[in-house]
């Protein structure tokens, strides 16, 4: 028995030493993972994120809607003219090539979601061309939802409107009923609107800029976040991170930015 107790003690001491060594190893691994360019000691399936501010503002009922918004655009790449939210205010105009100065966004609306309605739904034919199907057709590749917001503040073309409606797209694999109720529970939101016609399938409706990415939520204290942009949105918000700041900056003097033709922009990355 004495031999048995001694062995158990040795094992316990060994385990304690191993725990201490493993602690040191784990700490080193953590420190290394802070460097984006470090070569991982093991194959990583993910990189550390820079922040979680966006997800902090989402209430549990609207998580599904946020997940749907976030998933859109997972497999695309694009040119984003605007570097910051301020670039999308009505007093910021862009000259592209030799074009006249234009505001990139039709407007910005802040308010509470008052209605979510089904729009159109589409699949693809064998040539890859979109074909409209019934909204609840399981073969739909994507569906449009019409979101109506009861306006608290509005800028640009929607200034003065009591209600503003716009279209967003969700993937065909989404649970439609769950999506509708989840979007309806978003509460206080912000949407940066593109001009009608930007969404080819709902040509008479406003749509949300960056293929829906600039549909965000507004916290009780007025803080803005766009969950699909990821991280803490810091680079994009660039200090314009509350509704009050958006409204203040929109009253500032006009700003004109020049953009070269084609792929180059003054803003992306």
């Amino acid at each position: 028995m004495a031999s048995s107790r001694l062995s158990a003690t040795k094992i316990g001491v060994g385990a304690l030493i191993a725990l201490t060594l493993a602690t040191a190893v784990a700490t080193v691994v953590n420190l290394q993972s802070g460097s984006a360019d470090s070569v991982p000691t093991a194959i990583a399936t993910s990189r550390p994120d820079t922040g979680s501010g966006a997800s902090d503002t989402v209430n549990p009922g609207s998580k599904y809607a946020i997940d749907l918004l976030t998933a859109r655009g997972n497999s695309t790449v694009g040119v984003v003219r605007e570097k910051t939210l301020a670039d999308l205010l009505p007093n910021h105009k862009f000259v592209v090539g030799d074009s006249k100065p234009v505001a990139l966004a039709a407007g910005i609306v802040v308010g509470t979601v008052s209605d979510v309605s089904p729009g159109a739904a589409f699949t693809f034919d064998t040539a890859g061309e979109p074909v409209e199907v019934d909204f609840d057709d399981p073969s739909a590749a994507f569906r449009d939802l019409i979101i109506t917001v009861s306006v608290e503040s509005a800028l640009g073309e929607v200034s003065g409107d009591a209600e503003v409606a716009f279209v967003i797209d969700i993937d065909g694999s989404a649970d439609v009923n769950k999506a509708v109720s989840s979007f309806a529970s978003l509460g206080r939101v912000i949407a940066v609107l593109d001009n009608p016609g930007r969404n080819a399938f709902e040509p008479n409706d406003y749509s949300v800029r960056q293929s829906g990415a600039l549909f965000g939520v507004v916290r009780e204290d007025g803080a803005i976040s766009f969950p699909r942009l990821g991280g803490d949105n810091g680079e994009f918000l660039d200090g314009t991170d509350t509704v009050a700041e958006v409204l203040t900056k929109a009253t500032g003097p006009d700003v004109i930015s020049k953009v070269e033709r084609a792929g180059s922009t003054p803003s992306t990355d």
Binding site: S3, A44, V79, A141, F142
Partner: protein
């Protein structure tokens, strides 16, 4: 003749060593659980085999020897696709090849056109910018791997894009076709945005590709 203690027999000693090894492994595992950044949100690198298809699906391909079809591509898009295959994809465990015809056994199909509506995305125009390319998994095997990916490239954008932008864009879409997700780092072509694109995957992404193909 003395009886050996049960604890000092070779079998018991082996059992004790095994117990010690298990304890050490357990302690290491516990330490990793305790000290791993469990609450830190992470940026996914690799989608893996997930059975997903459709407009936003990123799903890994089925084979390390994928067969490509270029569907009547413009010369610039074709050149950039060739570059990205040779200098990015084929530098990993994956070895790409050409298919003689487009059929169910084709693994990656690349199309280009002046797209305006595919999947409801806001496709590129000169004033607004917008979506330049999209990769979709169209069909899957029962295992969840993607059987056939389609890549769509906007020719509207390519009329004025630089060579670096074109190569970066094809590097990006081919990454999606083999299961890579978007990155926030500028050190990889998987970053969203193409103004000053990297033209290669980073070491973490290559490690994931090599581990899965």
């Amino acid at each position: 003749m003395t009886k050996s203690s049960p604890l000092s027999s070779p079998r018991r000693r082996a059992g004790r060593r095994a117990l010690a090894v298990v304890s050490v492994i357990g302690a290491i595992a516990a330490a990793i659980v305790v000290f791993a950044p469990a609450t830190t949100p992470a940026e996914a690198v690799f989608a893996g085999s997930n059975g997903k298809t459709g407009c936003s699906a990123v799903n890994m391909g089925h084979t390390k020897f994928p067969k490509f079809v270029y569907s009547d591509l413009t010369s610039r898009v074709e050149a950039h696709a060739d570059y990205a295959r040779s200098n990015v994809v084929d530098q990993t465990h994956i070895s790409t090849g050409d298919d003689t015809s487009l059929d169910a056994n084709t693994n990656v199909v690349i199309y280009d056109s002046a797209y305006a509506s595919v999947c409801g995305y806001d496709w590129y125009n000169e004033v607004d910018g917008g979506t330049l390319a999209l990769t979709m998994c169209d069909t899957v095997y029962s295992s969840g791997d993607c059987r056939q990916h389609s890549i769509r490239i906007s020719t509207t954008y390519f009329s004025g894009a630089t060579t670096a932008q074109g190569r970066g864009l094809l590097c990006h879409e081919l990454g999606h076709a083999f299961g890579l997700m978007h990155a926030s780092s500028s050190g990889t072509c998987m970053k969203y945005g193409v103004t000053n694109p990297a033209q290669d995957w980073d070491s973490t992404e290559k490690a994931q590709i090599n581990a899965n193909y």
